[in-house]
Amino acid sequence: MQKKVFVQGLILAAVLIVPLLLNYMGHPFYLDLATRLCILAIAAVGLNLILGYGGMISFGHAAYLGLGAYAVGIPAHHWLYGGMDAIATTNGFVQFGLALLVSSIFALLTGLICLKVKGVYFIMITMAFAQMVYYLFISIAEYGGDDGLVIDTRSEFPLVNFDDSTQLFTICAVSLFFVMWLVWRISKSQFGMVLAGIKGNEQRMIAMGYNTFAYKLAAYVISGMICGFSGALLGNFTTFISPEMIDWARSGELMFMVILGGVATTFGPLLGAITFIILEEVLSTITIYWHLPFGLLLIGVVMFVKGGLSALIPKAGDKE
């Protein structure tokens, strides 16, 4: 138990300190990589809440990344070029608030439909809804359509400066730790227990008098909001927002992180995101065809590794 807590603390400290140290030593590249890592890990943690703890396999969570990013990009775009005065702003509270609002509304509306069905229907429908958002942004010429939206300005908050890459990274890392803590708290709460019960045997939970649909919908909305928040950070990080963020391959990569890291664990999504970022970075420097070894690895993991990375490193997992 002591050793497990020690390893977990070590992982968190490494995620926060190593990139800052490398940046200080003159390698800003690794700071950017780590910022992207933290942002993707937040989304993976959000997905894990419904995929891991709730057993709802969403293949469309990249949609929330896109919605969050556009919620930052569209106000910034109007602030720069005029029009739509009601939302034209670079105020971070408005932009992030908008990201959370839009992703929660989208999650609520699609959740009402998606959660009526189960299993493979659910997978396909979440995927189709994400595709709907993808085509929506492709067809809006005002916001760049296919080419994407370039914003030269980041969210403005008092005290912190998002244009400073060290501060942006620190914000992302701290947000990641907070979200991991939040999902851990949720999973240990009564709400989380009911969710786990639904994953195990929904009929029984219904028989016990729980409104399982409401519980699932609540989890689905929270998960979407976490991913929307991650998308708002992503928009600030890249300052280039394109429909490509919502491509279903992105949703697949998020699922890959959660599964590889180990579903229904606190550290699984983080470990999965670290592995994904390292793999992508190493493989893509070796060959432009890096999707080939990546795809083979994915098939190999599915066929031969049960329980993901967390199962391979039992000390780092958080199963009691």
Binding site: I57, F59, T110, L112, I113, K116, V117, G119, V120, Y121, I123, M124, I125, M127, A128, F129, Q131, M132, Y135, L136, I138, S139, I140, E142, W248, A249, G252, M255, F256, I259, Y289, H291, L292, F294, G295, L296, L297, L298, I299, V301, V302, M303
Partner: protein, 307 residues
């Protein structure tokens, strides 16, 4: 509304619907019988287009190339079943999705390595390249009529195979009770491989038929597979009849929406608003239809009869 344009768009919608059916039928066949979710089905569609393109240049004739590509794609489907799908049958759907997602990455990258990043246009033989006069003022490209007829022939062949042959009987029996069919001494694994090969050949055929119009390109499989999923969800997963009718419905809605929605919107809103909102709405229309159908009929329009 222009009558000629309307008829031509109707034919385009029919053509899209037929192609969608060719892809969706394989998906629904494999899901209905094997309970296997195959995301990589779209990649077979893409491979069909590329293989046919290469053979067209090697042989100098599109029709011969298509006839030779069909068995090649079927063999690819067979190999895919043996290597990737079979070990995953007993797993849950999540593993199917992730495993076949990996397979998409592998197949797309292989196609990228073999054929390069650019698309390949396929030249048509003179007999198919012209225009056909259907009515006094309606002229359509001959090849579009050829696509529609080829697709309808394939659909009819599939219907005959599934409903009027011994193999089809075994397939239907395998779908309703796998264990019982095995107990009666049928090699169910061989049957499954056959179903996969047929599904792959149909998807490949769709890719080969569309390639002379749109050219063979790397992303084509991933674009059509989601729409094919919408088709089988709307039609009812596992239902062949549902897939056929839903494919035609989705094909029509998508094509006619893109062509005429802005005209319809202009009837009751200002033309600038109509021109801005129509493309967004029409590109989402099939997903909106799917959402509506699911909300009121989660099992799809024509769910398969439970036996």
């Amino acid at each position: 509304m222009d009558y000629t344009l309307f008829v031509i768009q109707l034919l385009n919608g029919l053509q899209l619907g037929i192609l969608l059916f060719l892809v969706a039928s394989g998906l629904t066949l494999v899901f209905g019988i094997l309970d296997f979710v195959n995301l990589a089905h779209g990649s077979v569609y893409m491979l069909g287009a590329f293989i046919c393109a290469s053979l067209t240049f090697a042989l100098g004739n599109f029709v011969y190339a298509l006839l030779i590509s069909l068995p090649i794609v079927a063999v690819i489907g067979y190999g895919f079943e043996r290597l990737i799908a079979r070990p995953l049958y007993e797993r849950d759907h999540l593993d199917h999705v992730l495993g076949t997602f990996g397979a998409i990455l592998v197949m797309d990258t292989l196609a990228h390595m073999i054929w390069g990043p650019a698309g390949i246009a396929i030249p048509l033989p003179a007999a198919l390249d012209g225009q056909t006069q259907l009515a006094p003022d309606i002229v359509v490209p001959t090849f579009r009529l050829a696509i529609i007829s080829a697709g309808l022939i394939a659909a009819a062949g599939l219907y005959w195979l599934v409903n009027h042959t011994r193999t089809g009987m075994l397939i239907r029996a395998g779908a309703s009770n796998r264990t019982m069919v095995t107990a009666l001494g049928i090699d169910i694994q061989a049957l499954f491989s056959f179903v996969f090969a047929i599904g792959a050949a149909l998807a490949g055929l769709a890719g080969m038929l569309i390639a002379p119009i749109t050219e063979a390109s790397l992303g084509m499989g991933n674009n059509i597979i989601i729409t094919a999923f919408v088709v089988i969800i709307v039609g009812g997963i596992g239902s062949m009849k549902g897939a056929f009718l839903a494919a035609l419905l989705i094909g029509m809605i998508d094509t006619l929406g893109r062509a005429f929605l802005d005209d319809i919107f202009k009837i009751f809103m200002s033309s600038s608003v109509a021109e801005n909102s129509a493309p967004a709405i029409s590109s989402m229309s099939i997903y909106l239809i799917m959402a509506l159908i699911l909300f009121f009929r989660p099992q799809g329009l024509f769910p398969p009869k439970l036996r």
